[in-house]
């Protein structure tokens, strides 16, 4: 390398090919390598990575949305089912309760009727019993009175038949009143 004042700052021809030609090819190549390594490769990779990431993010977001929608529908369906189930249970329970209630009422009514019938029968029986007792009492009284009047003891069997006949002639209705 030499640097002398005589040749320094001399102008070369405007259109003159010289060593600059090769220097410039070399310079361009070096600049290309540097720019590719420093600028284009990292930035392009970064942008591509980011684009891929965004795309996958969007995809997963769409998928999640769909899943959420599905779950929502599922849960809505479940809630509906549960509501229906509840309604059904309530309906059934109501039905059961109603039938039960009517059954009970029926039973009560039947019981009541039965009791009434029983009472009626009891009453009837009591009445018959009372009538019979009265009949006996009257016949005894009549026998006593008759024997006192007649003064002699009649044959018991004949008397009973006589009295019964009498009573029958008087009639049940008269006794009842």
């Amino acid at each position: 390398m030499s640097f002398d004042l005589i040749t320094a700052n001399l102008r070369l021809g405007l259109v003159e090919f010289n060593a600059t030609f090769f220097f410039q090819i070399f310079n361009t190549f070096v600049l290309y390598l540097f720019l590719r390594k420093l600028l284009f490769k990292p930035v392009t990779e970064l942008i591509e990575n980011r684009e891929m990431e965004i795309a996958s993010d969007i995809d997963s977001a769409i998928k999640k949305n769909e899943e959420a929608e599905e779950l929502k529908n599922e849960y809505n369906q479940k809630i509906k089912d549960i509501e229906n189930e509840g309604k059904k249970i309530i309906k059934e329970a109501k039905l059961i309760a109603e039938t039960e209630a009517s059954k009970i009422i029926e039973k009560v009514r039947e019981d009541e009727k039965e009791i009434r019938v029983k009472n009626q029968m009891e009453l009837e029986r009591e009445k018959v019993k009372a009538i019979n007792e009265l009949k006996d009492e009257i016949s005894n009284l009549t026998i006593m009175a008759a024997s006192k009047v007649i003064g002699k003891n009649l044959k018991l069997e004949d008397h009973i038949a006589l009295i019964d006949q009498f009573i029958d002639e008087v009639g049940d209705t008269k006794w009842q009143n």
């Binding site: 405007l14 600028l39 970064l46």
Partner: protein, 229 residues
């Protein structure tokens, strides 16, 4: 040879002149590499601040490459990005008072030759011998014409860029020279250089520079994808 608008020799390595084209290129390279190192030092998944700008630039270049060359050739994106960023900064270097590296035919033709080599390398890589057969189409007599047409590609590519930038640079130099001569004649204070060149800088450096770097990158993409398809 101290006159004219050629690149200046700064020093020599083994007898090879190192011009200010190369030194300015090194300076621009250092800036680009430094900035991209800082910009990508700690990239985060959640972008914020400068990282958003970095991602925007890279995405724009990736998308441009993919749209122009197709999905198959999107691996060219770093090279196209290198062209766009380097040429974009080199072309507007005139704004910062240095000689644009692209105002040197060595720079533009070297880039055009790289494009030329890529066109035919990838043409053959993807299409094999049928690519070479394509030069004899529609019939063999057109072979020399086709080859000349192919050779014209890097020349037109390189000189289009060179011509635009060097033309702008020469006009700006002439303008500054003219204004420098005008002002003392008026009142002796160099005030004309203050505002007038702005409009010219906007057109020749900013507009033309950005447009030409875009055209160069675009044509590189189109030629390569035509050869590959």
């Amino acid at each position: 040879m101290n006159e004219g608008f050629g690149p200046q020799k700064v020093f020599e390595i083994f007898g090879m002149p190192i011009t200010n084209t190369v030194t300015v290129t090194w300076f621009i390279m250092a800036i680009i590499i430094g900035v991209s190192y800082l910009a990508t030092k700690n990239l985060k998944k959640r972008a914020s601040g400068a990282q958003i700008v970095t991602e925007l630039i890279v995405t724009a270049i990736n998308d441009l490459t993919e749209q122009t060359m197709g999905k198959k050739l999107k691996a060219f994106s770093p090279y196209i990005g290198t062209l766009l960023i380097f040429l974009g900064i080199a072309n507007i270097a005139g704004l910062f008072g240095v000689r644009p590296p692209t105002a040197d035919v060595n720079t533009t033709i070297s880039l055009a030759i790289v494009t030329f080599v890529m066109i035919h390398f990838f043409g053959m890589k993807y299409n094999g011998l049928s690519y070479l057969k394509g030069f004899a189409e529609p019939f063999v007599l057109l072979l020399p014409l086709n080859i000349m047409g192919e050779l014209a590609t890097p020349i037109s590519l390189g000189f289009r860029l060179f011509g635009n930038i060097v033309g702008g640079m020469i006009i700006m130099n002439l303008l500054y020279g003219a204004l420098a001569n005008f002002t003392p004649a008026l009142i002796g204070i160099p005030f004309l250089q203050a505002g007038i060149p702005v409009a010219f800088h906007i057109y020749f450096d900013l507009f033309s520079g950005v447009l030409q770097s875009f055209i160069f990158a675009m044509l590189t993409m189109v030629f390569i994808s035509i050869a590959v398809d």
